[in-house]
């Protein structure tokens, strides 16, 4: 296998260091900002991840150091392994919907693979299922001890019967090396995986004790705020000293702190809504607040691909549920006409209310909700809208405010904006934003308020600091009133504008490049560029991808279950290891197993090149290129990245 052999090493450290001085035209006349000092400005020297250019850095994988050494005009405040260094202003793009263009649905943009691919995929699954049953049949007779926990014994029914667990045991176990990979360190641009081996066909995974640094195209780190160094981490450290680690209780009992109040006010401003509330877990934001809004006699209309947390919440609520075809607005309208005219089943009474729940960006498909169409439908059919922006908040829109920002729709035309802080903000938990009465009612009636632990101070601080960096902080300008000559700081907030000082904790002190919002803006532009580049690049290389070009989630279709394992391993075992997420049935339909790339602002253009090159090589080996023709060569794609991004 030539693919496993290591390619020639990229720039070794010694040559890197010599190139360093050559590449630095300002070195002599501008001594105040030498690169070394700018790089180490926000990092502590005792840390493991600190990248100061010492001689002992091993850059054999090309991940630790940028391919081109920086010159002194480029000041980077981030650690390259956490957040890649990229100062080229061309590699930026504005994430915005061009009004007048159509929003692709789901089916009309997905090219079909050749029939032999579908056929072989079905045969693969059939074979796996047959083999599994044969092994079970023989195994139960030859080695009954190994099956004891699946069989009734001693008057107990098995916790997990052989039938229920068949899929897990006989199909998933075969590809367990792709799942649950333990990691360590920051889930930033790169991530360190703990190497593991399985001596017994994936039944046990043994950690070998060594680590491998890999390019991370899998974490939901859209804006690259997963950082152990920098302004946000500094703020969190201050917070731990000031507030401790826990708030000790639920929001309504003894666990509310002033940080919660501040953060909720800031989140409301960020979303452009009247009020917002914060919950300590993203899953629970859906699962414990939906039941507070709808119940018996209400109808929930849910997209068929909605996240499990939404389904969980709807099931708890006791409301009726109807589903419509993924992102299909005609199907939604037909369903609305049917349910409103028919009323409740059997009794035909009118529904108390109808809540349409959609996601802003679908995590397995990368499709963007057709929000303008839904808002139009809302005018006629008077339903309420709940938009789950778990993946889209921060990642989309010219100001990072999610799908409403991307489509330039006033956020208040949506009733409830829900989202999580896990993804773009590098934190944890979730929020709900809406009008004040609604949010107050949810504070009292949602399950989380009374019973669930409140969000902890460090997590809140990460939210506040990263959100303020995206928004920028308004410098309190003095406005002179006509009548009197007194100066008053203006605190008015205009959506989407910078965050007023009053919404931030007094002790929060962000470095200038974060406080003025310049880095936030640059991050938004970088993720928009990276997403489009990877998406269009893969299409030009002949792969079948799903989703909207603006989406940072880029699914690449692999189809056959056997190839998914191989794809994962081939990516991981490269000279520059890349970790990827592969998803198969039941998370996706049987025939559309895929690898899901999650692009980040932390990636540089060179990182995307690396991923494209890897896909290009592996795509031939695994025969997964079934997309459009004519195709471009990989060198064409890398060289014409700027043209690609402008496409569509």
């Amino acid at each position: 296998m030539s693919l496993f052999s290591k390619r020639t090493a990229t720039s070794p450290v010694t040559s890197y260091l010599s190139a360093f001085s050559k590449n630095d035209p300002h070195a002599v006349d501008d001594e105040s900002s030498t690169p070394a000092s700018s790089l180490s400005s926000s990092t502590t020297s005792d840390s493991e991840d600190t990248v100061i250019y010492d001689d002992d850095i091993d850059n054999a994988d090309g991940l630790a150091l940028p391919p081109r050494p920086p010159n002194s005009s480029e000041v980077f405040s981030t650690v390259h392994t956490e957040f890649g260094h990229c100062s080229n202003p061309k590699y930026r793009y504005l994430s915005q919907h061009t009004s007048g263009t159509s929003i692709p649905g789901h089916d009309d943009q997905n090219p079909e693979p050749p029939y032999y691919v579908l056929l072989s995929t079905y045969i693969s699954y059939l074979l796996l299922i047959c083999l599994g049953h044969i092994r079970d049949f023989v195994g139960k007779r030859m080695r009954p001890a190994a099956y004891r926990h699946l069989m009734p014994s001693d008057g107990y029914a098995p916790l997990n019967s052989d039938f229920d667990s068949f899929y897990t045991r006989r199909l998933k176990t075969r590809m367990d090396e792709c799942f649950g990979q333990p990691v360590t360190g920051v889930a930033g641009r790169t991530i360190q995986i703990l190497d593991r081996i399985s001596p017994d066909f994936n039944h046990n995974q043994i950690l070998t004790g060594s680590r491998t640094r890999a390019l991370n195209i899998s974490s939901y780190n859209y804006l690259g705020f997963a950082q152990a160094h920098g302004g946000c981490a500094d703020a969190v450290e201050t917070c731990i000293r000031e507030h401790g680690v826990s708030t000790c209780g639920s929001r309504l009992e003894g666990g509310s702190s002033n940080l919660h109040v501040l953060a909720e006010a800031l989140v409301a401003k960020f979303m452009g809504m009247e009020d917002a509330l914060i919950s300590s877990m993203g899953f629970a934001t859906n699962s414990t607040f939906i039941p507070a809004l709808v119940g018996k006699g209400c109808l929930v209309i849910s997209d068929e691909l909605n996240h499990a947390s939404i389904r969980f919440g709807v099931r708890l609520s006791g409301a009726q549920v109807r589903m419509f075809k993924h992102n299909d607005m005609d199907a939604l309208e037909a369903l609305l006409r049917e349910v409103i005219s028919q009323g409740q089943p059997k009794t035909h009474r009118p529904w108390r209310k109808i809540l349409v729940i959609v996601e802003g960006l679908y995590s397995m498909e990368g499709t963007l909700v057709n929000l303008p169409a839904i808002i139009e439908l809302k005018k006629k059919y008077k339903f309420y809208i709940w938009v789950d922006e778990a993946h889209s908040i921060g990642a989309l829109g010219p100001h990072g405010r999610g799908v409403t920002d991307y489509f330039n729709i006033p956020p208040r035309s949506v009733d409830i904006l829900m989202g999580t802080f896990t993804k773009s903000f590098g934190s944890a938990g979730g929020y709900l934003a809406g009008n004040k009465d609604l949010i107050d009612s949810l504070r009292i009636r949602g399950h989380s308020g009374a019973y669930a632990e409140a969000m902890t101070p460090p997590v809140l601080t990460q939210v506040v600091a990263s959100m303020a960096s995206i928004m920028g902080i308004a410098t309190p300008t003095m406005t002179r009133f006509d009548s009197s000559s007194t100066l008053q700081p203006s605190e008015a907030y205009h959506h989407p504008g910078p965050a007023p000082m009053s919404t931030l904790p007094t002790w929060l002190c962000l470095p200038p490049h974060l406080a003025d919002g310049s880095e936030g803006t640059s991050r938004l532009r970088r993720i928009a560029f990276n997403s489009r580049y990877l998406h269009q690049g893969l299409i030009k290389l002949g792969f079948i991808t799903y989703g909207h070009p603006a989406s940072p989630i880029v699914p690449l279709l692999i189809f056959n279950p056997g190839k998914m394992n191989m794809f994962h391993r081939l990516m991981k075992d490269r000279q520059t290891p890349i970790v990827v997420v592969v998803v198969a049935y039941p998370a996706t339909p049987l025939v559309s197993g895929r690898v899901r790339f999650c692009v980040s602002a932390a990636h540089t253009k060179e990182d995307i090149d690396t991923i494209l090159r890897a896909c290009d090589e592996i795509g031939d080996v695994l025969d997964i290129r079934h997309g459009v023709r004519p195709r471009w060569t990989i060198d064409q794609v890398c060289a014409r990245a700027l043209d690609l991004v402008q496409l569509s």
Binding site: D49, G249, A284, T420
Partner: protein, 531 residues
């Protein structure tokens, strides 16, 4: 006329030929013929079966699209109906009491602890008896230092679910620490304590399985049971005799129906969140082994608060934790960190790694919180004096509270949370659990209903009691003691719990401080309730 018969015959003949051409048709014909010959009734039966099968297949599987109830409308009519329809507002606005309740929630400025600073503080704070800081881990400098160290190595968020590069080495360490601490084979951590058991229950209990649960279980267990769609039977709150009766009746029912052997679970709490009562674990375990049930035990309150080193009920009663099949605890309550865990055998844990909804579909816990929890376990393990101190404070508080005649205390003497109910002047209205002994009902409650039989005798005025207790809370705060009512989701709970004040004791206060604080509470209770 004859021409139609002819053409019909021709058609039949050609159909017959076509049928003969299908491979295997001869076998089918022979089978039908011979079976008809043997038993003509069987043919009729089979035809009916085929029709039934086709009918079932053709029926739509989704609800709502039910053919019988579907009314056909013209487009214009639908438009009119759409125009006429006016939905209710999305959420009803808060009523006056709820609004004042929300406004009265204490907001802590800065560090939470035994004597926090509040945003609206009338007087100097004497003690905080509202926050869950049982063993004082919230203020430990060593935990903060470890958290900061972790932050500098891992950043804050994990940016992914456990299955997709969200499993950190510190998570695995914490799982190992919990399993070692409790003495179980393995453990699994969830990123929110509240969402742990409501996810664990549906991971194991499926449709057709049997759950026998206490009537007084907390809200999240109720939700877990609801989502599992299992068959539920209820037994009287903290009454093992009632449990045994219900187990017997379930077995009788199964024998009568000759049903298959399904999974059977007993679900209860170690210390009940609703009233602080404690179960008799050894007896419960003896019972579950005898009746061949599995035990799901929620130790969210008891883990980290009872037992010599805070291992919970299993340590208190000296029962090996391996005897509890599925043990759930909360790192947010017991360890002042965040999240929850489930401990049990390796099979139990492995199963959840792909079947626990809030484990699989949620981002994993931030690294620094996991490390804080590990550090908390270390502290508990190495300094049993903290737990002694906590228990001592609980005793001090109980001595004062038990003497009050305006309240009744349903909590167990060792429970770190102490619930206070208003005692009615008439002696007939005692706490629900004592109502049985008062001779109100000799017949056992109906196991299929979550309401106990004596519920008809419950005549407390929820609103009035809530208001009175809120006055007590505010009065106590005016005198420098922060306490809280037990907040409930009225209208959403299966059984409406009696309004109560919930005190949470902590080891961080000295005995004198606890004495002083509880006396303040007692005085506030007397002053308000005697009015």
């Amino acid at each position: 006329m004859s021409s139609t018969t002819e053409s019909l015959n021709a058609l039949l003949a050609s159909l017959g030929q076509a049928f003969d051409k299908i491979p295997g048709s001869a076998v089918l014909v022979r089978y039908v013929k011979s079976s008809h010959q043997n038993d003509p009734g069987r043919t009729v039966l089979e035809v009916i079966l085929i029709i039934f099968a086709i009918f079932t297949l053709l029926q739509s599987r989704t609800r709502g699209n039910d053919g019988r109830h579907f009314i056909k409308f013209e487009d214009k009519e639908i438009d009119e109906l759409v125009d006429e329809w006016t939905p209710e507002p999305l959420a009803a606005p808060l009523n006056a009491f709820e609004a004042s309740d929300l406004a009265a929630v204490p907001i802590i400025v800065g560090h939470n602890g035994p004597k926090p600073t509040l945003a609206r503080q009338p007087t100097k704070m004497i003690a905080n008896l509202a926050s869950y800081n049982f063993t004082g881990l919230a203020g430990k400098e060593v935990i903060k230092e470890r958290a900061i160290e972790t932050l500098r190595k891992y950043g804050l968020g994990s940016c992914g679910p456990p299955g997709f590069y969200g499993t950190l080495d510190v998570h695995m360490t914490l799982e190992r620490d919990i399993a070692d601490f409790l003495g179980t084979e393995a453990a699994i951590i969830y990123s929110q304590g509240f969402s742990t058991i409501s996810s664990v229950i549906p991971a194991f209990c499926k449709r057709g399985d049997i759950i026998v649960a206490d009537r007084g279980v907390n809200f999240t267990i109720q939700k877990g049971i609801q989502i599992s769609r299992s068959t539920v039977r209820w037994y009287d709150h903290n009454d093992l005799k009632s449990l045994e009766d219900v187990l017997d009746s379930v077995e009788k029912e199964r024998k009568k129906r000759r049903g298959p052997l399904t999974r059977r679970f007993i679900i209860t709490e170690g210390i009940f969140e609703k009233d602080g009562a404690m179960i008799d674990l050894p007896k419960l375990i003896e019972l579950k082994y005898r009746k061949k049930y599995r035990l799901i035990l929620d130790e969210s309150i008891s883990f980290g608060t009872v037992g010599r080193t805070g291992r919970g009920l299993t340590e208190l009663y000296n029962v090996p934790a391996t005897k509890v099949d599925i043990l759930i605890g909360s790192m947010a309550n017991g360890l002042c960190a965040a999240g929850g865990f489930c401990a049990g055998s390796q099979h139990v844990i492995d199963h959840q790694q792909i079947n626990g909804p809030s484990f699989v579909y949620s981002a994993s816990m931030p690294a620094l919180l996991a490390v804080s929890a590990s550090e908390g376990i270390d502290i508990l393990r190495s300094s049993p004096s903290i737990l002694t101190k906590l228990q001592q404070n609980i005793r001090v508080a109980r001595t004062i509270l038990d003497e009050l005649d305006c309240i009744s205390v349903p909590s167990h003497p060792a429970s770190p949370i102490i619930h206070l109910h208003i005692r009615k002047p008439t002696p007939t209205l005692l706490h629900p659990s004592s109502a049985v002994s008062a001779g109100h009902s000799l017949k056992p409650s109906n196991p299929t209903s979550v309401l106990p039989r004596e519920a008809v005798n419950w005549d407390w005025d929820t609103d009035a009691e809530e208001r009175a207790l809120q006055q007590v809370v505010e009065e106590a705060l005016r005198r420098g003691v922060m306490i809280t009512r037990a907040k409930r989701l009225r209208g959403q709970e299966m059984v409406e719990a009696r309004p109560s004040i919930k005190l949470a004791l902590t080891s961080e206060l000295s005995t004198d401080e606890v004495k002083k604080a509880v006396k303040v509470v007692a005085q506030a209770l007397k002053d308000v309730l005697r009015k």
